[in-house]
């Protein structure tokens, strides 16, 4: 029997997957096709730019992915592809004959995403069919806790939340801390703007994270665990709840797991919208019901964490790697990657590229390969300007340095960080001062206010950047930005403050001339900062439709009907409305 899978992650649903799903149910019911085709939902297939996606799996195991499906196209899939077995080439985005966007997948390596877009995340049997919970079984019956930690250490796995701390070592610290009660926490407070890796994993393969946590709990000696999820991820929370319930029913969670003496229970804690809670001590405070403010370390959570007990915290992606490592062996994991960065890394690709989506690549691949081969290059044939990695804690890597490999140390050398996996591609139309201002306004708002330099220093930096983008920059601003950046980095308690200046520092380092153009020449080379651009009407293109004059909020446009119009620059407030409404694209920025 054929199977149709509909990608029902948040991206897919917002693009209209639910309507497609309902239409497919209706068509199958109406046509009485239940013996010909089975309908299943799945998580993130990874080709977000083609959502909604429907995959057809035929009896011979071949698969075809159809993209940008709406209810009408869904009807064609049933009628032509399922019933008549036609190729339906115009809807295919990827198929076994390696057509479509095959280069999206050919350089990928899927460890964390091994089940994403393949299984139904709401059905535990799908996960079990793909070796789910065998790693847990193996660990409980064949490994001592020490052997588990040795295996994880040997794999070279490092924290995927961005810090890159060796996971095995972290587990060992918690294991060695005295105490009969210990906790395991999964950090799913994915807050970086532009990052959706953890959300996709939780929505598409929640059991892999639960299994990873169970193995960790066994190794460090914990009996209770929490998954701290952003409240902005309702779908992830819903699927996690289903997963926890079915894992409990099957005896993978609770007392006497798999009839052994090992017990572990798991609770979901919903975050309440505070970026700083991604920092581990702030996250713990938040679970305890307090204001989510970080505290001085040491003591590290491994010694004194939740309710003062030894606690191990890892992020979603780190945990999702664990079952794979146990099943396939540390050696196999460590054979991929660079000297100090092993395995693979998930990235959320977004920005000005042709294919935005969720990908996983072996460490050591270059950034250029990701941008040009996997992401299919830049939109509209534009030139790559920079890649932003690590979100508000990271930085912008300029195009000429994008031949570096994906490796914790190599990326840190540029001034950016590996981060949790947000990778935003920027083209020549992106203003780097504006980008720096954007990230700083984010961290400034999210600063919890505990450390003076983070609280006030970021505000001062933001004021400077804002005035630069408004054409009021002064020459002393650049040295002042450096001075503030250095003080914020050294006088902040947690990662938020210590890394907040990074987006500014990297753009100053690689795009100084852009800052100078704003400050000295009062020009925005990318024509983004509205205060620094002039709107002009091209007399060759203007047909005198009067639309711009009618829409202008300050009556700065004059001209008779069917005659060329003019913008009075003294009155113009650079709002861009004229450019937006012009049907002939006659308005341009100068």
């Amino acid at each position: 029997m054929k199977t149709l899978l509909v990608g029902m992650g948040t991206c897919g649903i917002s693009a209209g997957a639910e309507k497609v799903w309902n239409e497919l149910i209706r068509l199958i019911d109406e046509g009485d096709l239940h013996d010909k085709v089975k309908l299943e939902k799945t998580g993130c297939i990874g080709m977000c730019y083609r959502e909604p996606l429907v995959e057809l799996r035929k009896e011979d195991g071949t698969k075809t992915i159809f993209g940008e499906i709406n209810p009408e196209k869904a009807a064609r899939i049933i009628e032509e592809a399922v019933l008549k077995e036609n190729d339906l080439d115009d809807l295919v985005v990827y198929d076994f004959k390696s057509g479509g966007d095959a280069s999206l997948f050919s350089k990928q390596m899927r460890v964390v995403l091994r089940n994403c877009g393949i299984i139904n995340p709401e059905n535990i049997d799908d996960y079990i069919d793909r070796d789910g919970y065998t790693a847990l079984e193996r660990v409980i019956f064949d490994y001592t806790p020490e052997e588990v930690i040795e295996e994880i250490t040997a794999s070279g796995l490092r924290g995927r939340g961005g810090g890159g701390f060796p996971t095995g070592k972290k587990w060992l610290f918690t294991k060695m801390s005295p105490g009969d009660k210990k906790y395991v926490i999964c950090n799913a407070d994915e807050g970086d703007p532009g990052a959706f890796m953890d959300r996709s994993v939780l929505e598409s393969d929640p059991h892999s994270v639960i299994e990873g946590m169970l193995i960790c709990a066994y190794a460090v000696g914990a009996q209770e665990g929490y998954i701290y999820v952003r409240a902005e991820y309702p779908k992830a929370i819903e699927r996690l709840k289903i997963a926890i319930n079915s894992a409990t029913e099957r005896g993978f969670l609770g007392d006497g797991i798999l009839k052994s003496h090992f017990k572990f229970s798991l609770k979901i804690k919903e975050g309440a919208g505070a970026f700083v809670c991604g920092e581990e001590t702030a996250l713990i405070a938040s679970i305890e019901g307090k204001r989510g403010m970080p505290r001085v370390r040491p003591p590290f959570p491994a010694v004194s964490g939740l309710w003062g007990k030894p606690t191990n915290i890892n992020n979603v992606e780190t945990f999702a790697n664990i079952p794979w490592i146990i099943i396939n062996g540390a050696e196999k994991f460590a054979s991929v990657g660079t000297e100090k960065s092993k395995g693979s890394k998930v990235f959320a690709l977004a920005g000005k590229i042709n294919r935005s989506g969720l990908i996983e690549v072996p460490m050591g691949l270059t950034i250029n390969e990701v941008v040009h081969d996997i992401a299919g290059g830049l939109k509209n044939g534009k030139k790559l300007k920079a890649v932003q990695m690590g979100g508000p804690s990271g930085g912008c890597i300029p195009a000429h340095m994008c031949d570096i490999p994906i490796d914790y140390e190599e990326i840190t050398k540029t001034g950016a960080i590996m981060g949790s996996g947000g990778l935003i591609v920027m083209d020549e139309d992106t203003c780097m001062v504006d980008v720096a201002r954007f990230f700083l306004s984010f961290t400034q708002k999210e600063s919890c206010g505990k450390c003076t330099f983070c609280r006030i220093g970021t505000k001062k930096m933001l004021e400077i950047l804002t005035r630069i983008t408004q054409g009021e920059g002064r020459e002393e601003d650049i040295p002042k930005l450096y001075e503030l950046a250095e003080k914020i980095k050294s006088a902040s308690l947690c990662g938020l403050g210590q890394t907040a200046p990074n987006p500014v520092l990297t753009t100053l380092k690689y795009f100084l001339e852009e800052y100078e153009a704003h400050i000295i020449d009062k020009k925005c080379p990318a024509k983004v900062c509205t205060a620094l651009v002039k709107f002009v009407i091209d007399p060759e293109k203007c047909v005198g439709c009067t639309l711009c004059a009618k829409k202008c909020p300050v009556e700065a446009i004059s001209g008779a009907p069917k005659k060329v119009h003019y913008i009075d620059l003294d009155k113009c407030i650079s709002c861009g409305t004229c450019m937006e409404v012009c049907p002939k694209e006659a308005v341009y920025k100068e």
């Binding site: 948040t10 693009a15 994915e190 703007p193 532009g194 309440a272 000005k352 935003i424 937006e580």
Partner: protein
């Protein structure tokens, strides 16, 4: 949106208080429950939480004001969240925000005069491939233009008009 009577909401909330009140670290789940039931965190709800957890109201307000999720004022019928994530930012979320503000004559963090909409900005909705994106209640709209969002807002207004 829940339209039950005040008594019913109070009863629902009291049930939550009985269930979580004695648990360690229950303030955030209780505030979340209050917001879900009453659509915002009222002073009354805070005092009820305080009574049942024996935690001073000042500490509860401290928590409520720390987290962005909690609203201390009543909200409009529909909540508009304009995504300000990185991908949305480079793809023009500023223009979308401006279009909403102008079209509804409302500013960020405010309600429209008719109480129909509340306008908020959020750091990232996590559907970056659909940027620029806006979430209205639980529905996400992607790949927006100023025109498209105006049309969507009008459709909400129109549906409301028909219901009346």
């Amino acid at each position: 949106m829940i339209s039950e009577s005040k008594e019913l909401k109070d009863e629902l909330f009291r049930r939550k208080l009985r269930r979580y009140g004695a648990e360690k670290g229950s303030i955030i789940p209780l505030l979340q429950a209050a917001q879900e039931i009453y659509s915002y965190v009222s002073e009354e709800a805070v005092s009820m939480i305080s009574e049942s957890t024996k935690i001073p109201q000042s500490s509860i307000f401290g928590v409520a004001t720390f987290y962005k999720q909690f609203r201390l004022k009543p909200v409009g019928k529909h909540i508009i969240k304009v995504c300000q994530g990185t991908a949305c930012h480079v793809n023009g979320s500023k223009e979308i925000m401006k279009a909403v503000e102008d079209h509804l004559s409302v500013k960020e963090d405010e309600n429209t005069k008719d109480g129909m909409f509340t306008l908020l900005s959020v750091a990232c909705l996590g559907c970056c491939s659909l940027s620029p994106a806006v979430m209205i209640d639980d529905e996400t709209y992607g790949k927006l233009t100023p025109d498209a969002i105006r049309e969507i807002l009008d459709s909400y207004r129109k549906t409301e008009g028909e219901e009346k």
